[in-house]
Symmetry: C2
Subunit: 153 residues, 2 copies
């Protein structure tokens, strides 16, 4: 047993770290009326505009109803707009209106700064290693989740 039973376990440590990250970023984004989860959606759209809601959900690895509700909030505050798709009347394509772009740039600055604060004291190599190892753990869990459907024997 590598992590002995007295320890809470790596998964719980990761969960605590994620909670702190949410707490910190939610607080720093509050002046903009945004939450961390809402920013994650915007960040996806900044990379490429006009995605469908399903694409956004898939990229963020969240479920479609979760993404839908985040978009509801973002739409109400005019951070995004949903445009219908003539070719397929089921899908909405999500766009960032021009008026929101300067605001988004300001938010991005805060997020960048927070990222910087978070990894203080870690070398570039350490950060890359961390990313790789978390990726490996994610892969293991995705596999374990996939096996649930079939016969594990």
């Amino acid at each position: 047993m590598i992590i002995d039973d007295n320890d809470k376990g790596l998964g719980f440590l990761i969960a605590e770290t994620a909670r702190l990250h949410r707490k910190l970023l939610d607080r720093r984004l509050q002046p903009f009326g945004l939450t961390r989860a809402q920013w994650a959606v915007l960040a996806v759209l900044v990379r490429r505009d006009g995605r469908t809601q399903s694409e956004i959900a898939e990229e963020l690895e969240i479920e479609k109803p979760t993404a839908g509700r985040l978009l509801d909030h973002l739409e109400q505050l005019a951070w995004i707009e949903r445009r219908p798709t003539p070719a397929d009347r089921r899908v909405w394509r999500v766009h960032i209106p021009t008026a929101a772009r300067p605001r988004i740039a300001a938010v991005a600055d805060v997020v960048r700064d927070t990222r910087h604060v978070m990894v203080q004291g870690l070398s570039a190599d350490q950060q890359h290693l961390l990313v790789r190892q978390l990726g490996a753990i994610k892969t293991n869990m995705v596999a374990a989740l996939g096996e649930a459907a079939g016969d594990p024997g």
Copy 2:
């Protein structure tokens, strides 16, 4: 910039990993009628019985209302019981009833196995390093959260 802007950022990677861990463990604990968060409370009590609710919240790094509600659920299903404290009528001390101990042992087995699955392919050294680095990141974020009260200049 170590993690370039095209990347979602380490914080979001940690959040995704935490979400997967919750999803996996919630699914595996479902046969017991437990969630990951509820198990975390039980794990604290297994280490030492008879804590107060505030002590539990502090150890898990969650807020007191969150802990209180988790205990509500656990109490309803007889995983724990709250006993009054004669010396201080404000506090409840939380205990694991004898009848629940065998069930808890069975759950612990599942949690242990899941932990094992999660870190497959990572050496002991890598795991220890990971724990240290996540600890460093947590420390950075706790510091940043603390500074919010005072003047950052």
